[in-house]
Assembly symmetry: C4
Homo-oligomer: 188 residues x 4
Amino acid sequence: MKHEHAPVPVISKSRLEFLFDGVFAIAMTILVLELKVPELVDQRSIIELARALVHEASTFVSYLISFVVLGVFWYRHNQQYHSYHAVSRGMLVLHFVQLAAAAFFPFCAAIFGRYPTNALSQVVYLGCILVYAWASFANWVVAKRSGSIAAELTEAAYRHSRTRLLRWCLLVSALFAVYLIRTLARLA
Amino acid sequence: MKHEHAPVPVISKSRLEFLFDGVFAIAMTILVLELKVPELVDQRSIIELARALVHEASTFVSYLISFVVLGVFWYRHNQQYHSYHAVSRGMLVLHFVQLAAAAFFPFCAAIFGRYPTNALSQVVYLGCILVYAWASFANWVVAKRSGSIAAELTEAAYRHSRTRLLRWCLLVSALFAVYLIRTLARLA
Amino acid sequence: MKHEHAPVPVISKSRLEFLFDGVFAIAMTILVLELKVPELVDQRSIIELARALVHEASTFVSYLISFVVLGVFWYRHNQQYHSYHAVSRGMLVLHFVQLAAAAFFPFCAAIFGRYPTNALSQVVYLGCILVYAWASFANWVVAKRSGSIAAELTEAAYRHSRTRLLRWCLLVSALFAVYLIRTLARLA
Amino acid sequence: MKHEHAPVPVISKSRLEFLFDGVFAIAMTILVLELKVPELVDQRSIIELARALVHEASTFVSYLISFVVLGVFWYRHNQQYHSYHAVSRGMLVLHFVQLAAAAFFPFCAAIFGRYPTNALSQVVYLGCILVYAWASFANWVVAKRSGSIAAELTEAAYRHSRTRLLRWCLLVSALFAVYLIRTLARLA
């Protein structure tokens, strides 16, 4: 498992970081665009506005959960990225998979917020997290194989992080499987 | 109150700054998405367009106020952030609370702009500012406790800023309380 | 006119630049959100789609003009900003005026694109440019007065730029005045 | 073909890079705004949600293709930009053409995703890519002529990249021509 050879940097580390942070900042901010200003009959009615906002409660909850999910993704990426001294072609492709999942996430959050009790919307939401999680894990492994991990990181530290990432992926996969099976069972 | 120990940096200061500035730039710019192009019957009618724009006047005012609020938030954060030499785990979490409030702010601005005379929309608007303000204050205190404040900043300067932040939080809390009570009183 | 004293930097030059570039990148990109995908009866009809796009022609033109306007604003800011060695409080406030105008610009572009022949939409569009232009000019003068202009810039170069900025402001003001008067005349 | 003279830098390389990355991050993220949350009669119905999502399938595919297209554009720009040691006036203008095309791309992706079988929507989509591709190529040639290419890049490497860019432009042009002719033929 230790084919370390000279890395093939294909992109400046800082520019990819830049694009990554930009996409996350935007995804986190446009989550809110799903929250719609309600139409009130009596503009001054507190009760009517309160009812309209309560009606959107699941979208608010989805907003909060999704913000936390994106925040955790971003934080984890930070820690991984810190250990790379270069970005190889495979890592770049996997970064784009992560970015596509992150940019797609506001749509999943919107569906989940609107139809929280719909089994399929839960599957879509978890599916997006699943793609992101496995791309993160693959990134870490590919980074090691292409020799892009900084020399300061010991083999033990690399393996420790890999185990943690894998555990996270398996957890999300198990959740996804449960929800997928439940959804299919309801259809049968 | 002076448990200074070695800070536990969990994230690069510049990347968090980056995400922060990104979220603020986007929040400030999408405020305008709430302003809708009116539908005119006579496309060339000056009177009709003027009436339609006047009809949206409160949304314009909310846009301006909200832009200033976000600008002041951003500026204050700048000054605080400058004094940190590291970001600890607690500070990171509090930063995410600040970011969630800032990203949520365009929705509050939209509700307030649409229903400026609705007591509840005022409470929502102030509530978002309240969350942001207290998270800022907590960030400052947590930074001190985790030893993340740069050595150049004297104890007196730290306390001075803390007092100023606290005064700001109390002012917003008082305003929020007044509006909340007024809203509840109207319901009773 | 030469009260140069020590500058009072209130903000890191790079962070303000960051926020500025972020707001411009977003404003330039959300201009396109005003272009709506038309609803077609026959999804495969070339003629129907062509007619729908031609119907939006003025919005396309407004998109292009507005993109160029924001590009020129951004470029000019770049050149000005390069000459500052610090940002004083007055300059910060004026930067926020510029940012508010830039963030507001997509709305003006949308109104202008939808009602290009409406005299008032032209006035609104030019009014936004007017605010930006004068804030740019004021920034330059305030920078000089607060001693924030880099020592490398000669007095002659400063005056040359000031004259150019003033000429630009006067041109925009004249255009704005003509359109405003024309609009008022039509009302009378 | 080798009029190398002193370059005329008109803008800081890093700020243009910044604006470029910002516009790309936003364009990539707002692609998703075209995906609409469907309206369901029965909120818990898996079948109904599945049908609604399948109905949007072409928009999902357009999202994925367009994300890849923007990713490839961004990556290619990265490689080109790395070879410049300055940005001349002509290059700045061409960069703005590239940015305008990239910012316009979400609209093309939305039309293409909605009407994938409409010959005109394909032409519009390819037309946007065409403008971007030729502006990239022109940028490379203009960079050489204005002496803005770093000395480290050999003449052979420059020519190699130029050939590759040209081949790409010709491929896109050929595709565009085929689709344009097909569209015109259907009209006749």
